[in-house]
């Protein structure tokens, strides 16, 4: 494949439609009566011309705007499919159960098709990736030839090029003073004027042509930012539950940081205090005013093995409230949730006949003692402790988890009357005496609860890329939308003065500008040939 030499002397790359320098049509695509297709300046989009190796074939596939548009449409449809039913991360049952149970056969199908985790699925990621590749290749394939063509353009253009511009007019004669006036007017309108052999090319706003490509660069940086999230350590989003009074390691910090939760605070709006909201509160019932955890952040000093008690250095006190996270070294700790946990249970050792108490004991449910001595020969032993009690399939009492959701105990109650002790099984709202009638019982006195604060630990080192991408994206949009690339050619041909003009958009604005430029001269306003064509067709 050879380069094409135009009659004006300029050498164009193979596949060029309009000579980069003079605009002569090199490949006849349309009949010579029609207007020229000015897209990409008639430059050679390489993809359209070379198709030899597999690399070229892949390249050409992605460089097609048609392919790009289809990729976007398919991704749009796929994205909307994911919104029909809740995604897996928002459900609290196993996915294989949940979908069928909640939505019947449709849910089952939805799950079988893998739509339960659509946005993390390989094919969805590949779709997004293909859009990214298409963006890069489409842009490269167009911006390079376009840049070259605009750079190579000469002032003097081929007759065919001028004649077949949308805005075109012929004047028989023009005086020197007319040219001077026109130049003055053009300068006033900030046109960049080039002259050659008495021909004029006035151009402005060329940089508007780069708008879409700047925009694409922004998008690619944006996608790159999204990709960064997959690099370990760049993006952290973890739950952290800390009981009041306890200290926990902050996840994903390599054991660097510890968070102590001193107190969780839940405040409601008070009808009597907040008079403004009285009616609203009456209508809505309880309205939460504040979720807050008073925490202390510690940093580990020196090294310690997992399991060993670390030496901690206090960094700061902070009141973590909704939208007011604790921030340190790129990490943010957000208040996100709370729950209430049983922490202590109190019982009284009571004589069943006299109903007299021989003493009380309080059991710490996360760390119960083996034996509670009540004095005077009374004591209680815990033979068995089930923090989350249930009966197993074989009828034995067991525990479902380590969390004290439903504590149950097997007690041995020792009293002066029964020095060998009596056995009693005590769970919430039930007492079983396995060996017949006991003299003593454990009567329930009360419970204490403890708040557990739920935090989200977040670190996002990809935000800069997302923000930068967004800014560049907007710059591109503005660049392409608010500026027009306008060119006006005023040239001497066959002893006449030809005027032609081109803009990438806003033809009305261009025509008004030409009117201004030609004012106070004898030159006639060129005609909008596209409008004439329309009228011919429409018969208006």
């Amino acid at each position: 494949m050879k380069d094409v030499k135009c009659e004006c002397g300029h050498v164009n790359p193979h596949g060029t439609v309009l000579c980069e320098a003079c605009g002569k049509e090199l490949i006849n695509q349309t009949n010579s009566e029609q207007l020229i297709d000015m897209r990409y300046e008639g430059s050679a989009r390489r993809s359209q011309t070379y198709n030899k190796t597999i690399i070229d074939k892949i390249w050409n596939f992605f460089s097609s705007v048609k392919v790009g548009v289809w990729l976007i449409i398919i991704t749009l449809i796929a994205s909307s499919l994911g919104t029909i039913l809740p995604q897996e991360m928002y459900i609290n049952l196993p996915a294989d159960v949940y979908y069928e149970q909640e939505y019947g056969w449709f849910g089952k199908l939805y799950y079988q098709l893998g739509f339960n985790n659509l946005y993390g699925s390989w094919w969805y990621l590949i779709l997004i990736a293909m859009i990214g590749i298409s963006l890069v290749i489409c842009s490269l394939d167009r911006v390079v030839p376009l840049y070259k063509a605009l750079k190579a353009q000469r002032v003097t253009r081929h007759e065919g090029f001028l004649k077949r511009q949308r805005v075109f007019g012929v004047n028989e004669i023009a005086s020197e003073s007319d040219f001077a006036t026109i130049k003055k007017h053009l300068q006033k309108r900030r046109y960049h004027i080039r002259e050659e052999n008495g021909d004029i090319l006035a151009e402005k706003g060329r940089f508007a042509r780069w708008g879409p490509y700047v925009n694409h660069v922004g998008l690619i940086i944006f996608l790159f930012g999204g990709m960064l999230r997959f690099i370990p350590g760049m993006y952290v989003n973890e739950d952290l539950w800390v009981r009041e009074g306890e200290t926990a390691v902050v996840p994903e910090t390599d054991g660097q940081f510890y968070l102590q939760n001193n107190k969780f605070i839940l405040e409601h709006y008070d009808k009597n205090k907040d008079k403004t909201f009285e009616k609203a509160i009456e209508k809505a019932g309880e309205v939460v005013k504040n979720y807050q955890s008073n925490v202390v952040l510690y940093k580990r000093v020196g090294q310690n093995l997992p399991g060993e008690k670390p030496t901690l250095k206090k960094i700061k006190d902070y009141k973590v409230r909704v939208n007011l996270p604790l921030q340190y070294e790129g990490y943010s700790v957000f208040q996100s949730s709370f729950r209430n946990e049983l922490s202590k249970m109190s019982f009284a050792l009571t004589n069943q006949q006299t109903n007299k108490s021989a003493g009380e004991l309080t059991i710490d449910l996360t760390d119960p003692k083996m034996k509670y001595d009540l004095g005077k020969g009374y004591s209680v032993e815990i033979l068995n402790y089930f923090p989350d009690f249930e009966f197993a399939d074989n009828g034995e009492p067991t525990t479902k988890s380590r969390v004290p959701n439903n504590p149950a105990f097997v007690f041995r109650m020792v009293s002066p009357e029964k020095p060998k002790g009596e056995t009693s099984f005590v769970a919430i709202k039930q007492t079983i005496e396995p060996f017949g009638d006991n003299q003593y019982k454990m009567s329930f006195k009360g419970i204490e609860t403890k708040n557990v604060s739920g935090f989200i630990v977040r670190k996002d080192s990809t935000l800069w890329a997302i923000i930068l991408g967004g800014i560049i994206f907007m710059i591109g949009v503005i660049q392409g939308a608010y500026w027009n690339h306008r060119r006006i050619w005023i040239q001497n041909k066959n002893g006449q003065v030809w005027i032609a003009a081109h803009t990438n958009k806003n033809w009305y604005g261009l025509k008004r500008e030409i009117e201004g430029v030609l004012a106070e001269t004898n030159l006639a306003m060129p005609i909008d040939q596209a409008q004439i064509e329309e009228m011919d067709k429409g018969g208006v």
Binding site: I55, L125, I133, A248, P306, K400
Partner: protein
């Protein structure tokens, strides 16, 4: 000219392709990735057992270590514990140490459990789940086999049979 074009296109496609491949790879390994891989050095830790003795993994260099994570509330743990205890007696003089780590339970629960099942191998409580997080344990029970050089030989989750326990012990016997 043509050659240069091919080279440039190949480089661009290669760059884009590798970015895509990396993203896909990272996405699919992020959930399944084992924090402590087989063949890697087992992370050192130190915990105190129910009798108050400190056990540090690196102290057992030269011996095989059968490291088991469990909870009293987990039924398969309950089943496999006696098997582990039996094999512990068979192999403790042959250079295999058993270390078991309970996840964040009360001393009472662990002591009573050990007493009921007559367990006498070292039991430690991971109060802050630090060792659990270091080893990236999710479902219990989980067993790590560590050889005499401190390398992880095998990682196994789920209930063990006595036969399996013996097989494991045999595997890490120095």
């Amino acid at each position: 000219m043509k050659k240069r074009r091919l080279v440039i296109r190949s480089i661009i496609l290669l760059l884009l392709g590798s970015a895509v491949v990396y993203t896909l790879y990272a996405n699919f390994t992020k959930d399944t990735k084992q924090k402590v891989a087989v063949g890697a050095q087992a992370p050192d830790f130190a915990l105190v057992d129910m009798q108050g003795n400190k056990h540090q993994l690196s102290d057992y260099k030269g011996q095989g270590v059968f490291l088991n994570f469990w909870g009293t509330w987990c039924p398969p743990c309950k089943k496999e514990m006696p098997y582990i205890n039996n094999q512990y007696h068979q192999y403790k003089d042959k250079g295999v140490q058993v270390l078991t780590v309970d996840i964040q339970e009360s001393e009472l629960a662990v002591n009573q459990f050990a007493e009921r099942l007559k367990l006498d191998f070292p039991i430690m409580i991971d109060t802050d789940k630090e060792v659990m997080n270091t080893y990236g344990i999710d479902p219990l029970p989980a067993t790590f086999l560590i050889d005499k050089n401190g390398k992880v030989v095998e990682y196994y989750t789920g209930e063990l049979t006595e036969e399996k326990v013996r097989e494991f012990m045999e595997k890490i016997k120095p």
